[in-house]
Assembly symmetry: C2
Homo-oligomer: 137 residues x 2
DNA sequence: CCTTGCCCTGACGCCGACGTCAAGGCTTAC
DNA sequence: GTAAGCCTTGACGTCGGCGTCAGGGCAAGG
């Protein structure tokens, strides 16, 4: 099949496919006219790439999976290199989530304080010092 | 004080300050020599900006807080516009966290399946179909 | 006098994963 | 014959928040 059809069947764009090819991730054979030619196995590779991308993997991180499939393994994650990527990504996600949760809690706390201060505007009283204290993110 | 000192006292760089100024966020008076001049109130504004940035706010999102302070309010979040930003950010963070958690769980599930499949290589058996199903992120 | 250290403006670099436009070619359908 | 619709390569645009030159100025200290 040609690039347009492959893109459609994988739910992506021709631009993305050419980009993957430029990165050496999904090379294509060429017909006489110079047009790219793909087959069903390419569709499998592409779907693997897309599935991983959708879960937040960078393109480079999908490479082991693609090569694993291309090597004839039943699944992209049948190879140790793929498992390693899974584990790194898992740790990365956990870290990210924790960071976001901490940020979320700080914002929630500030919001509560600020709302209270606004409600207590008329009665007057002490000045609750705001300023989110921490750093990072 | 001059730009270098302000940057140091707020734990940032002169480049960042010039950038904020270019965005109209933290304008500066100028001395005869054309050098930027700041005072303690600028330091407060800058610290507000930094605190918010550190929790994941975009520059534009800090603007209401800065203008609130500049308007003479005791805290950057003493104004309704700031509270609105807090709330939007809170919702945004919640959404993001949920997305990441979902992704994390998918990856964890895949990893488990793949590890099991690898362990059961010799005994042979059915082919557990992998491929993370969903979309998005 | 010269170095050091601060300041200035302007402008390109970066990162990722493409979107989008430009300019053109081939094939198929009418 | 020609318009439609596919394909080709090349190259610049996007988004945020600066980093990092490049090129130059001004002032104080040795």
């Amino acid at each position: 099949m040609r690039i347009g059809e492959l893109a459609a069947r994988a739910g992506t764009t021709t631009r993305a496919l050419r980009y993957y090819e430029s990165r050496g991730l999904l090379p294509a054979r060429r017909g006489e006219n110079g047009h790219r030619r793909y087959d069903e196995s390419d569709l499998r590779l592409l779907r693997q790439i897309r599935a991983l991308q959708d879960v937040g993997f960078g393109l480079e991180e999908t490479r082991p999976f693609v090569e694993c499939l291309r090597a004839g393994h039943p699944q992209g994650d049948s190879c140790p290199a793929s498992l390693a990527v899974y584990r790194r990504k898992l740790a990365e996600l956990d870290g990210l989530i924790e960071e976001l949760r901490a940020a979320r809690d700080k914002v929630a706390a500030q919001l509560t304080k600020a709302e209270l201060a606004a409600g207590a505007t008329v009665p007057g009283g002490p000045e609750p010092v705001c300023e989110l204290g921490g750093r990072k993110l």
